[in-house]
Subunit: 328 residues, 2 copies
């Protein structure tokens, strides 16, 4: 059962292969008589013809796909939602999404040269030459970076701001001595660094002590120890920023073991607003990164970039919002 090609279709329909191509692609500067079109379409149906993506890509110089380059972070609810949303948005615009996670040393050039995407959405920073090469190849680049950059097509996911918002909320509630619950996972090191930096900056600006950092393993007993460290400090830590909501859940488990309640004994604020955050005990106050709107913006950018239209004005920096529940 060999592959059905446009030639087979042409033969059955009694037309030339070119005509098949015209019909398939609704080529605008080729008028096709309704009768021929009809015959061709029927033949396509009958034979179950599907154009070869490879041949098309080879001919067109691009696969038409959008390549999403992700750093090697775990795919949790947030990254999942981001991919899901971006995928949906692009699909609506007739674009397919190919997702690739890359390791640190990996050669990005090789990657996009292979995939031949029409556009690249990257969450890892690309070097100067890399960007030039992409431009030269006619591939539109949209970046979604943790550290902001002043480019038209770059929007930043402001991790620094995330940290600041956490502290501001706690300071507003009168806390002066805060702790930081860091994730002991090398994969998220970059995120952690920036969020913690944001926390530090904010502490300095607001005249608070620097955060008291504890590394949290996925273990309630260890978390309990960390919590007790905070409580034993002089002066005592009264509020904690968690790296994310998962860590916050672990901290809550530690507090429970220590017989402590949030926010009375120790206030707690997370990041991500995962679906389970409202169901923590107590419901988790957290920072929402609104990745769905980022995805929407990215999709708009990509769409315009591919079509060569002027880029829509999209916020340089995505909005990050505080979600107040009960834990802080």
């Amino acid at each position: 059962m060999a592959r059905v090609t446009a030639r087979d279709v042409a033969e059955v329909a009694g037309v030339s292969q070119a005509t098949v191509s015209y019909v398939i692609n609704d080529n605008p500067n080729q008028k096709i008589s309704p009768a021929t079109r009809e015959r061709v379409l029927r033949a396509v149906q009958d034979l179950g013809y599907a154009p070869s993506a490879a041949a098309r890509a080879l001919r067109m110089g691009t696969s038409g796909a959008v390549l999403l380059i992700l750093p090697h972070v775990p795919i949790g609810p947030v990254v999942g939602a981001f991919i899901e949303c971006l995928e949906a948005e692009l699909k609506e615009r007739g674009l397919g999404l190919v997702t690739r996670r890359v390791d640190d040393g990996e050669d990005l050039t090789l990657l996009w040269r292979q995939v031949m995407p029409a556009a690249v959405v990257s969450m890892v920073a690309m070097g100067r030459e890399e960007r030039a090469a992409l431009e030269g190849a006619g591939i539109f680049l949209a970046e979604a970076l943790l550290s902001p950059r002043r480019e038209e097509s770059t929007l930043s996911l402001p991790q620094l701001l995330v940290g600041r918002l956490q502290v501001e909320h706690l300071a507003m509630a009168g806390h002066r001595h805060i702790g930081y619950a860091a994730a002991a996972d090398a994969q998220v090191e970059e995120f952690l660094r920036l969020r913690l930096e944001g926390v530090r900056m904010s502490c300095v600006e607001l005249g608070l002590d620097l955060p008291d950092v504890q590394w949290i393993e996925a273990d309630a007993a260890a978390a309990q120890a960390a919590v007790e460290e905070w409580r034993a400090r002089e002066p005592r830590v009264t509020a904690v920023c968690a790296y994310n909501d998962e860590i916050a859940f672990v901290v809550l488990a530690g507090m429970r073991r220590a017989g402590l309640r949030a926010p009375e004994d120790l206030a707690l604020i997370g990041v991500d607003n995962i679906p389970l955050a409202p169901f923590a005990d107590p419901p988790l106050t957290t920072i929402d990164q609104n990745v769905d709107v980022s995805a929407k913006h990215l999709a708009q950018l990509v769409r315009a970039g591919i079509d060569g239209e002027p880029l829509p004005r999209v916020p340089r920096s995505e909005s990050v919002t505080l979600v107040v529940r009960e834990s802080a």
Copy 2:
């Protein structure tokens, strides 16, 4: 900045384009002198040459990728882990993974004809002709289905068993009247149906009453109402199977509002063993589907299938294990 082709490399290296191809692919039945190979490789380096995936795919008749076909379910921690693991396993074997989520009516044939994968891993059932067509096209098919089928290359993710295990554990603890916390999400309908069916079957076999089903929205107050319904039943429901761990968290939140504790007032068991399960209050007893071992098996199957080797003997049905913590 036009694309760097094998011809450019050949020119720089002072050899023919065919030679470049030989060197690149380590063609076994072509001896290349070390000197030539060296020159070619240097030229490749200098020009930053990367072979065109499209051209290669066109020529070879396959893109070499593995196509993962997923139903349109939300990408939570479990599906995320599955993808992640499968991706890693395949990468280890030099295979790339292309993930596609398909809607219900979507034409799968079109999909694989376009991607030209070397193998397809499908979580949606394929029709008889579809499978024949794939075979004809020389594409290896491995299925990971919810409903088992007796094929060599099909392994089932036994959702029925998941439900049974939940009930068996509860029955063992002496519960006779159990409730079922169903997810009110149309996307997971298929999973829900099967898990619930497993619960029903097990109830019948063990001589328990049929489960008392409550639909749980993502809302603690609503969950509280559901919990109180169970408690008001005559005879009273003493244990609940949740559709998954997320629903279990919601039920726990509802119980908390109702002033009830697990397992004393109401035992609770989830499914999935998500990372947060140990940190619920109380820590969640649950069923682990071990998707990582499924992924491993699938990767083995795919590898053998592509290489035309005899398929490794792999369990027809994946193992599902009970993880006992404190909630039941």
